[in-house]
Symmetry: C2
Subunit: 369 residues, 2 copies
């Protein structure tokens, strides 16, 4: 899932994302809650209609940003008090308010509110954090069950499809109808036939630090609460890669194979292929888009830094093995010039290529499955 933090994959128009074959985007609840605000998005008909994106969207719970962007946060049983990174204003997220926000945004898949345990942490800290996440998971589910009918597109005239009749459909009906199948299939695998049951799919999040025993307990007790899908959180927080791999493997054993299994915040092209082989169904990462904006491009010949002088007069395409509109049309020399000149188009083209490269990687993974 490419990351579209505030209802946009930075620099790339939605129709180009459709052309690239993006089936689902991730939106960040924390950022959308601050700007433009949940009520605005709700009144505009929900995220799909607001950003004119007819395909699937997943929103995170806001928990990770609260923990990663806030040094001054105060965690209590009730929830988390934090300060906006934009203006320093004080805000409060609880499992209930995080659910209310995600229901108001109206993504197809939403996440239970969790505490992302820091690394390193001693066993007692990891256990108490895991227990808090489990209590918050139960509260998240309870609130969701009581309020799931409040999604903006449910009360909308077009019951059943988030963005039916939104401009997107008019502007590229063919591309969308082709994709409907894929998107619907993806959601059905999450137990939510889109057309039939117009509610969101709530996923639970497994914590437990780097402790296989606690991960096992967290997985079993999260499954016991019962969710449409299960995420593995609290990884890629600074631990060695082999530890990540070991924890992912041992956690997957305890998650049902007939529900989507989502590894949060991962990773490089090699890693997503590896984790998919291990049984992970979904992943998200800012790497392809953020790296692109810093001139780091993924190619079939490895990662390259386009700012390097050696590309100044290289008239070859960025990645001869890539068929994206950037590699088909522009030379490395031109991309290097755009980046060296700090031109907007550098970030646009670099992002299109990196997202294309990631989606090609996932297509290859699906094909091999």
């Amino acid at each position: 899932m490419p990351v579209g933090t505030v209802a946009t994959v930075k620099g790339v128009p939605q129709d180009l994302l459709e052309e690239l074959g993006v089936q689902i985007l991730l939106g960040n609840t924390y950022h959308l809650y601050l700007r433009p605000g949940v009520e605005t998005v709700r009144r505009m008909g929900g995220l799909h209609r607001f950003m004119s994106w007819e395909r699937s969207i997943l929103t995170d719970s806001g928990g990770f940003q609260v923990f990663s962007l806030n040094d001054l946060r105060k965690v209590s049983e009730e929830g988390v008090t934090f300060r906006s990174h934009l203006d320093g204003s004080s805000h409060f997220f609880s499992p209930e308010s995080a659910m209310a926000a995600q229901i108001g945004l109206g993504a197809d898949i939403i996440m239970a509110f969790d505490e992302c345990t820091e690394f390193p942490a001693d066993r007692e800290r990891v256990r108490s954090s895991m227990e808090l996440t489990l209590r918050w998971a139960a509260r998240s589910k309870r609130y969701f069950e009581e309020h799931k009918s409040e999604v903006p597109w449910r009360t909308d005239a077009n019951v059943g499809t988030a963005a039916l009749g939104c401009p997107a459909e008019r502007s590229s009906a063919v591309a969308l109808s082709q994709d409907q199948t894929a998107a619907t299939a993806e959601l059905r695998s999450a137990g939510q036939p889109r057309a039939a049951v117009p509610t969101q799919a709530l996923f639970g999040i497994v914590q437990g630090g780097m402790d296989r025993e606690l991960r096992r307990e967290s997985a079993l007790r999260t499954v016991e609460i019962g969710f449409a899908g299960y995420a593995i959180g609290g990884l890629s927080v600074g631990e060695p890669r082999e530890v990540t791999r070991e924890i992912v493997a041992s956690t997957l054993e305890h998650l049902p194979k007939d529900a989507p299994r989502y590894l949060m915040g991962v990773g490089t092209p090699e890693e997503i292929a590896l984790y998919a082989r291990m049984g992970v169904d979904m992943m998200d990462c800012v790497l392809p888009t953020r790296a692109a904006r810093h001139g780091l491009l993924f190619t079939s010949e490895g990662k390259i830094s386009i700012k390097q002088a050696r590309f100044a007069e290289d008239d070859g395409s960025l990645d001869p093995a890539c068929g994206c509109r950037v590699c088909r049309r522009y030379s490395r020399a031109y991309l290097r010039h755009l980046y060296a000149s700090n031109e907007l188009l550098a970030q646009v083209l670099n992002t299109i290529h990196n997202v294309s490269f990631y989606l090609d990687t996932m297509r290859a993974v699906r094909h091999s499955i």
Copy 2:
């Protein structure tokens, strides 16, 4: 002509410019000379191939930027010494070196090196500046006639077409072949059948400040030197709009109707329609692209500032009368959110719309002709 200062219309991929119907772009010799450098562009086959733009390109002489971006410039009979706005390094442009740079860049239309007379200026200053521009015009033409065969695409395998076989053609052959006609026609009107005579078209520039008599003399003596087209320079430099209009009208009288007449650096949609009615064939302006990046959007209902809070929940399209991909797909509320959140996509979408609006204006003008 949309402005593509350093070989890019800021934020807009070339294939979208083609889709919008852009037939010719303006590149700034001063900026391209500093970055990526003329020799790099020449070795890459010229501007068309370097930026993968198969349609027409015009480069200015660098004169205007030297005068507008350099307070420390030193003007002599020989030329102008100036400092780079990037690193303060010292450089020198003469009519000969400005021609050499433009021949190396290889645009379809290039401009004689002129002195843009400041405003206000007394009659003696305006006359001496005009005389200098006339001497530089003769030197520009002489150098061009002796070196015009040195264009990068002339010595290229694909004689006759600047970017034949460049990736652009492969990636969107249909759109391009449709446009060939228009582009070729435009060049033929400049006396340069593209396929038959693969050299550039050199335009002269009329100066003379706000003095009708000096403008008349400058026009007649520039025509006497003889160019493929004629530009009116030194306007939109702070004078009242009615003065601009009066000087344009009186200067046009003395320029041949069978050669392209190019008014440099204007203007608003109303102005370009007005000047076209007066007989101007070509115009360029940074207004549509620069304004877009500042959230100022041109619509059939007038100019709007998309940052305004009143658009925060406006789900109408930006301009109901506009058929561009932005107006077809996105709401004012979404565009306002992107701008308020300082998102890259705001600049991309705003620019696409403004360029589309300007091209629609020119299409209406052509239709009325």
